[in-house]
Amino acid sequence: MSDITKQSLTELVENIKKKKLSSTDVTKAFIRRSEKSSELNAYITDDFTSALDKAKKFDQNPNLDLKLPGIPMAVKDLFCTKNVKTTAGSKILNNFVPTYESTVTENIWNEGAILLGKLNCDEFAMGSSNETSHFGNVQNPIDKNLVPGGSSGGSASAVAGQLTPITIGTDTGGSIRQPASFTGIVGLKPTYGSCSRYGIVAFASSLDQAGPMAQNVKDCALLQEVISTYDPKDSTSINFKRNHYSKELTKNIKGKKIGIPKEYRVDGMPKEIEDLWQKGIQYAKDCGAETIDISLPHTSYALPTYYIVAPAEASSNLARYDGVKYGYRAKGENLIDMYEKTRSEGFGAEVQRRIMIGTYVLSSGYYDAYYLKAQKVRKLIKNDFDEAYKKVDAILTPSTPSSAFKIGEKTNDPVSMYLNDIFTVPVNLAGLPGISIPAGHDTKGYPLGLQIIGKAFDEQNILNIAFAMEEKINFKNKITDWWIK
């Protein structure tokens, strides 16, 4: 069968279950395409030999009752994978091979999937363009020298470029939804507490959440169903009744009330984003939903709040990378000297910037003015959503304030880089689920995404709305395979 890599996850699963394709066929096809795609630099570590062995083994005695039978899959290099190097995109973990598996990836392998390799990302997931990775920039399959977004840039590039049928990323302030939007794919950030954080290299613990990145909504729902489990190993994991997201997926969203928050109409937002949003409102109406203007009054404080809370937690979470136990260690005259050299050489500039910001906002004398105040504002932001959800079932916004930009375009201007996350960050602060679906193109032909934000634990609802709108939008990603010689 030709064009295996063009098939969606759902199609591949069906073909394997019907024995039209073997796991070996599928795995080989994705390995071959991945090998031809080195220019995208989507992988940090490949595990192709082992993947092929596993595929052959699967085919010998295939368990076709599994949800991901023999499906090859590459994952973001922030998930610890047993015996496979896990770097978090950082030099400081360049030699780190975990002896354990993250709960989310464990869930995936338990359903029959096979690890293809580890995908590039911003260092410790800190970035919006994948340019902070120690392992180099990732190319966006949409166009040469275009960033794929970040931090799950390698993941987005790999799905859009068909190097993996589907993947998982992590999202702390938009790291799944923004790259999904930049590469024309679907990305879901689940409710905080839906997916276990056990075994995921931590960035900001109160915001981090793993989620699926897929070619379409149905694939996304299937993977969410697999990865979302209650995990006693993560104290913030929540034991709620999880839906069979893919089975319960429906396009019937008639009568759903969708809020349109006026505060997301930010200054300087390009007209094409505004136009996309208006189109999205029309699509929602076409699907039978009702749109209602709402207000989320504290939206403008979300970004500064995020850039206090996230670095504060990160500054503490990254203290363990000290050269003592594992990872990179520089030679030093004494303990302090070793710490300083290890961390100066091991961490990149953006990570160091955030560690310093975080250390500053937690310092005595500044704690109340920054960290404590940020926590209070975070509560207000959450209250905004709670208030809105008294009137609506979901909220529709653009995913990003612009389309993908060129590599190097924003690296010298951190603030303009941070502004990329302006529409996604409030969702993390409130712990809500949000999905980005591709909804159109800008004048350069680059994809643009729309974000649907849901109530906590209401993934099914936003997946349904996305599923219905996806059909109306009928988005086609323009992938030219420019990187394949």
Binding site: T99, A204, K233, T236, A312, S315, R320, K325, L335
Partner: protein, 491 residues
Amino acid sequence: MNKKNTEYLINRKDNQYEVVIGLEVHAQVLSESKLFSSSSTKFGAEPNTQVSLVDAAFPGMLPVINEFCIKQAIKTGIGLNAKINKRSVFDRKNYFYADLPQGYQISQFKDPIVGEGKVILDMPNGQKEVGIERLHLEQDAGKSIHDLDPHNTFVDLNRSGVALMEIVSKPDLRSPDEVNAYIKKLRSIMRYLGTCDGNMQEGSLRADVNVSVRPKGSKEFGTRCEIKNVNSIKFMQMAIEYEANRQVDLIEEGKTIDQETRLFDTKKNETRSMRSKEDAHDYRYFPDPDLLPLEVSEKFIEELKNDIPELPDDKKKRFIEEFKLSPYEANILVSDIDTAKYFEEVVAKMGKNKDIKLAVNWITGELFAVLNSKGLEISQSPVSAKNFAILINLIKNGTISGKIAKTVFELMIDGDKDPQKIVEEKGLKQQSDPKALEALIDKIINDNREKAIEYKQGKEKLFGFFVGQAMKASGGKANPQLINEILKKKL
């Protein structure tokens, strides 16, 4: 200085200074596993054999609260007559050190699990109440070993993540003696509760000691210094003594005391500056986002309250009332839970016609002496409570004299032998047959006629001589009371 029944004051020329002491006691929670991981807490294991991925802070590892440790902390809080906080928060205390794998210690800062409480000390001049400021849970760090290699430091993470209770007292202590009594009382309460084994040699109990001085009568506190990590009561007392005198000397010289952290050098018996207030760490405390606030229900606390055994204060009260012991005797028996257990078992085994006073004297006398000389705890006593009770009964019912009992006791030690059997086998039964004793005494008087006459003429001291001769003649088995009576009659 006469410490008994007087204030502990430091005198300089015309000035008298009072010493103000507050303690931060670190007590290791008695628990099979660590505060946030399932690794063992067993003491003395090979280095780095009791370390989980969580304890070593591997990437992506997350802490999960060990509910047993929470229960232990709450029980201790109840034992300290303290307020149990239904909502408490775990915070991160951030600092870098080689034996602190996470780069932060998980502790409780603003919202501890236990709030204010109090303990009562029995001092020679009466009872003294010491306020408890708070009790919070925290992780222990690992251990840096600097003396195994000339160029490298080794790290042992076996202790990393072990649960500690930090018990902070109010600045209510006024002397090294009170500190001694306070630590012993805390230790006693926790051992009763089974929440800390109180073993200071193994580091299960250690303290940071805050010391300040002020002119006698002053209401304001002086500037305090904190002496870090002192691991025996003796050292605490020595450190306080040194530190208080150092501070008084500074004041007398017109100098000021710097608020600082000091270390106690046990070899030189002095405290040394470790870091000043200006150099103090900024720990950047903030709530640990990996852990939700800890919430416990009223029901949970009530169930633990029902689980609390009789504590030393109540036991003491009961011993005084039920067994008619003096407060002093009761104190000795209740201060260690195993002593109290032993005593109560002896009382139970003695049956109806028991002499509790006698038992107390024998426990605090003969038994303690043997334990001391053998370096044993009462829980390891070579004489079981059952056999001990039999021995006391043998004395009480006149089967053996107190003197013979000492011989029997010596023989019991080896293999916890039944005293009844020893008495029978060795023929140590007391001679209480008046006729036999009369014959024996007649013979002695006959053999010592001159001395008998001297006695009658008024040399009363000679009475002892006859008692001695009678005892000697009976091989020590004669009932001394009967001997006395017969001698008085015959002489």
